[in-house]
């Protein structure tokens, strides 16, 4: 993971079946006045579309800030233009996330982009909810808890882009009392999948099936993350 001044960027190779040929990777960038360098983006030959979480800015605001008409700003970005866009957000505290841009049919307004840009049905609603979570005030739960920390949100996004298929149900996103974040999936048969992200003691994967078998895994072990992916896709059972 390239480390930038004051922030980090992770470039994640995306499986071909999940994205169009125009997008070969996505980046998750945590900025507080920083932006990924040209080197950090060099592994991507695709286009990028920005979404800013935790700033109160939506896609339309993003477009307005860039000063480019929606019909133009998605297409044909040079890397220089991408960097310029990032620099235009240099004073915005929060999470700047670049998601892969894909072919958009029809009108290319902000709403269309949001729906079609990723071809991942789970992403738009998930992004909206993550944005809401990142804006939670302290004591959001009346028990004096802090809002989810940026690391927990960034890790959740990174993980979701690894494990989600296009038809995977979006997770429930539950903030925890110590700044962590819990991702939850529950099925009609009573099985539960929970993933805890962030710098918290119980960070990890937990799966309990319909008959009470359970398994715990680590987010740091690729084999465990693969098992989570398989379980969410219905390809792997616990027993």
């Amino acid at each position: 993971m390239p480390v930038l001044a004051g922030g980090t960027v992770e470039v994640i190779p995306a499986p071909a079946e999940r994205v169009s040929s125009q997008a070969t990777a996505m980046a998750v960038v945590h900025i507080h006045g920083v932006y990924p360098s040209d080197d950090a983006l060099s592994s991507s030959e695709g286009l990028w579309a920005p979404l800013v979480l935790g700033s109160g800015l939506g896609v339309k605001d993003t477009v307005a800030r860039q000063g480019v008409a929606p019909s133009n700003w998605l297409r044909g970005w040079s890397r220089e233009a991408q960097l310029a866009l990032g620099q235009s957000f240099a004073d915005v505290p929060g999470l700047l996330i670049f998601v892969p841009y894909q072919e958009i049919a029809g009108e290319r307004d902000a709403a269309t982009w949001r729906q079609a840009a990723t071809k991942t049905p789970w992403w738009p609603a998930t992004a909206e909810e993550l944005n809401e979570l990142s804006l939670l005030p302290s004591d959001w739960d009346s028990y004096g808890s802090p809002p989810p920390d940026a690391a927990a949100i960034t890790e959740a996004i990174t993980l979701l882009w690894k494990v989600m298929e296009a038809d995977t149900a979006p997770p429930g996103l539950v903030p925890l009392s110590d700044g962590g974040l819990q991702l939850e999936w529950s099925a009609a048969d009573g099985s539960v999948v929970e993933v805890i992200t962030g710098s918290v003691e119980d960070r990890g994967i937990f799966i309990q099936d319909a008959v009470g078998n359970w398994w715990e895994g680590s987010l740091d072990l690729p084999a465990d993350v693969d098992r989570l992916t398989g379980y969410l896709a219905g390809e792997t059972a616990l027993a």
Binding site: L136, W140, D141, S142, Y143, A169, P170, G172, V174, P175, L176, S177, Q182, E184, S186, A187, A188, V192, E194, D202, F206, Q208, W214, E216
Partner: protein, 143 residues
């Protein structure tokens, strides 16, 4: 009125306040259930049924000072103890507290909290004040 002290009888209901962010939308069943996150803290804040009764307060009144989208669930002291949790009374005492303030009925249950324990607690929690569209398998709506 004298609020109970000492050991908590096993049949006593323990009421846990649930902020809306701890509700998880079960997409497959199209209903809302409590997340295990509600039972993650090692010291879990609750209100005790017997103390509320002495104060003349209904369980739902522990939500009086909170927004309308808060919910309430209950477990019994016996259930919580069977999950290796210790139940204790710990009145939430503030300045100029009314005699019948629900804070007098405050308590906690404490203990090691594995992920399976949290799931067990979630599965055994019953709605007292249920959110709209609560999943029926959490005994929706009634004490």
């Amino acid at each position: 009125m004298e609020v109970p002290t000492g050991d908590v009888p096993p049949a006593t209901r323990l009421y846990r306040r649930i902020p809306p962010r701890w509700l998880h939308h079960d997409i497959e069943n199209n209903c809302v259930r409590v997340s295990s996150a509600a039972f993650r803290d090692r010291d879990t804040s609750i209100y005790l049924e017997d103390a509320l009764a002495v104060l003349g307060r209904q369980p739902s009144e522990v939500l009086d000072d909170y927004p309308d989208d808060y919910s309430l669930v209950s477990l019994t002291a016996e259930e919580v103890s069977s999950a290796e949790q210790a139940v204790q009374r710990s009145p939430d005492i503030k300045d100029e507290m009314a005699e019948d303030d629900v804070g007098w009925a405050h308590g906690e249950f404490c203990g090691p909290r594995s992920k399976t324990t949290r799931q067990w607690l979630r599965e055994h929690a019953r709605w007292v004040v249920a959110p709209p569209n609560a999943c029926p398998d959490a005994a929706a709506g009634t004490v």
